[in-house]
């Protein structure tokens, strides 16, 4: 029954948008920011993918990054946990501060950055050789956690937070790849949560999912906001409107506009933003 309800416009989601559309009930003076990005530029070889982006990511809020394909959304996201470094010949200028700490300082270990800033990918990628349970705790285990008791606790906690526990609690030994697409994506979220990051980056987490699975993930994002700062890339404008508190619009590697989602979607400052959101291009 629950699933059927979700197929139609999800009442909770609708309510959420309405709530967001009201003037903010408690006007926060200046929300604490988790990331402070200053004059960030990124090159792949000679090609400039990000051009002088400056923006603050608010804590315990969802920031959505929108824009047409190839505008640098994913690159920007990956700069927040230094995953872009996996691409050869990448060069970065500018600074990214995570809780005041420069991520690109020479004494920073990218592995530790990624433990603090977790990531969920477009295509769900549970490890094919591992069971559901092993998939969730593998990050802890490979980072040196030995205590089985601790792993079991974290396993349940992470799966509960990812809203997957009830569906898989009797099948923890089954292959992670035996789950449905939406469940696999939530498994990947649980896996990312298990190492207790401070931030969760999501790179189009729903683009390969059907509307019902998408609704579940959106629900989840809304709940996770209480504990995590979330930055998500999305191609789906309605989704950005439903789930995010702040929206950044990228075009050709530049940050065109950034502000509260309600403002971006109802009264953008820039003509390009309006054209993109109303579907005149992109």
């Amino acid at each position: 029954m629950v699933n059927l309800l979700m197929a139609t416009p999800d009442p909770t989601v609708v309510e959420r948008v309405e709530r967001a559309a009201e003037p903010a009930p408690t006007p926060e003076p200046a929300p604490a920011s988790t990331f402070q990005v200053k004059n960030l530029s990124v090159w792949y070889g000679d090609k400039r993918a990000i051009d002088d982006v400056t923006l603050d990511v608010a804590s315990n809020a969802v920031t959505a990054i929108i824009g047409p394909s190839g505008c640098g959304k994913s690159t920007f996201l990956r700069c927040l946990n230094r995953m872009h470094e996996l691409v050869p010949k990448t060069r970065v200028e500018g600074t990214v501060f995570l809780q005041g700490e420069d991520l690109y300082s020479s004494d920073v270990d990218p592995a530790i950055v990624r433990r603090r800033v977790g990531m969920v990918f477009q295509k769900s990628n549970p490890f094919p050789t591992m069971s559901i349970g092993e998939n969730v705790v593998i990050g802890l285990r490979l980072n040196g956690v030995r205590s089985q008791k601790f792993l079991n606790e974290r396993l349940e906690k992470s799966l509960r937070m990812a809203a997957l526990w009830d569906e898989v609690k009797d099948d923890l030994h089954k292959a992670g790849t035996s789950l449905s697409g939406g469940q696999q994506q939530r498994l990947c979220i649980a896996r990312a949560l298990a190492v207790e990051p401070e931030v969760l980056l999501m790179d189009e987490p729903c683009s390969a999912l059907d509307p019902i699975a998408t609704a579940k993930i959106e629900e989840l994002i809304y709940e996770l906001k209480a504990h995590y700062t979330i930055v998500t890339v999305t191609h789906n404008m309605q989704q950005a409107g439903r789930i995010s508190d702040y929206t950044a619009f990228f075009y050709l590697g530049r940050l065109i506009e950034f502000g509260p989602t309600t403002k971006i979607f109802t009264n953008p400052n820039e003509r390009q933003t309006e054209d993109y959101i109303t579907g005149r291009f992109g």
Binding site: M83, M119, F121, N125, P128, I138
Partner: protein, 286 residues
């Protein structure tokens, strides 16, 4: 548009039939040698494959009976020693090619591995003869194992590299994004995901060197008795077959047939094992 047959329909049917017949015959010709070899080995060797063959030492000329237990055990010892050299270097080299290294360096390494794979196996025997046998003044199990191990290295490098490259990048990214180091990602995620393929490559390499005779001629040399020290010459099944087959004695010929049958069966079993391992290609791709 009309749907009548073209005028040359009959001729085209004949051509098509001809082509499939030729293809079918070619396919038969590929399978035939295997069948013939196996048949011939069974006819000539089966009668001499008995309990004694697997449990007794060779007997002196003219004395009937005896077996090749020393050669069978010797072959296993040589393969074990070859594995100690060939598997770690081959697998780590393949992982390097698949995971590290610049494109330029890798293409050079890949080319070298391919050339090494094409080197005639007797060359390896001569190389090890020069490097080891002459220096230590004697044929030995070490030298034989080293020669076989050197042949295994480029084989395993290439198969390992290929299966490592087949592991989707998403798994590497997922592990790295959990704050797992590069090295642990490779060991626990990449190699684990590719393990079936890597094991397949190792088994195929073992099957290949298990039947090698030439590289052992100048290195392991062969031995009619038990080998009591790895620094002494050692018997190996292919060598023993060679020695017996070129001898003028009938019962040695029979023993050689039996040895060949056992060897081919062993290699056949390894290949069947490989097929079984690679059958479930679903979850873990390789």
């Amino acid at each position: 548009m009309h749907s009548k047959r073209a005028d040359n329909h009959t001729w085209r049917t004949i051509k098509s039939g001809l082509a499939s017949t030729v293809a079918f015959i070619s396919a038969l010709l590929v399978i035939a040698p295997l069948g013939l070899v196996f048949f011939h080995l069974l006819v000539n060797g089966a009668s001499s494959v008995n309990w004694d063959f697997f449990t007794k030492l060779p007997t002196p000329v003219g004395t009937p009976g005896g077996g090749m237990v020393n050669a069978i055990v010797g072959s296993l010892e040589l393969l074990a020693f070859a594995s100690i050299i060939g598997i770690p270097i081959g697998v780590l080299g393949g992982v390097y090619l698949g995971e590290y290294g610049s494109a330029r360096v890798n293409s050079v390494l890949r080319f070298i591995a391919d050339v090494l794979n094409g080197v005639p196996s007797i060359t390896w025997g001569v190389v090890v003869y020069g490097l080891v046998v002459l220096r230590f003044k004697g044929f030995s199990a070490y030298a034989g194992g080293l020669a076989l191990g050197l042949i295994m290295i480029p084989l395993i490098i290439r198969t390992t590299e290929e299966v490592v490259l087949l592991v989707p990048n998403g798994y590497r990214e997922a592990a790295l994004a959990l704050g797992v180091s590069r090295w642990k990602t490779i060991v626990h995620i990449v190699i684990k995901t590719a393990s079936k393929g890597i094991i397949t490559g190792i088994l195929l390499a073992l099957a290949r060197v298990g039947g090698e005779t030439a590289p052992l001629l100048f290195t392991a040399f062969g031995n009619r008795f038990w080998n009591h020290s790895l620094s002494q010459p050692i018997a190996a099944l292919p060598l023993q077959i060679f020695t017996y087959a070129i001898s003028p004695y009938d019962d040695w010929h029979r023993q050689a047939w039996a040895g060949a049958l056992v060897l081919v069966t062993g290699i056949f079993c390894v290949n069947v094992l490989v097929r079984i391992l690679t059958r479930g290609r679903t979850a873990s791709i390789v």
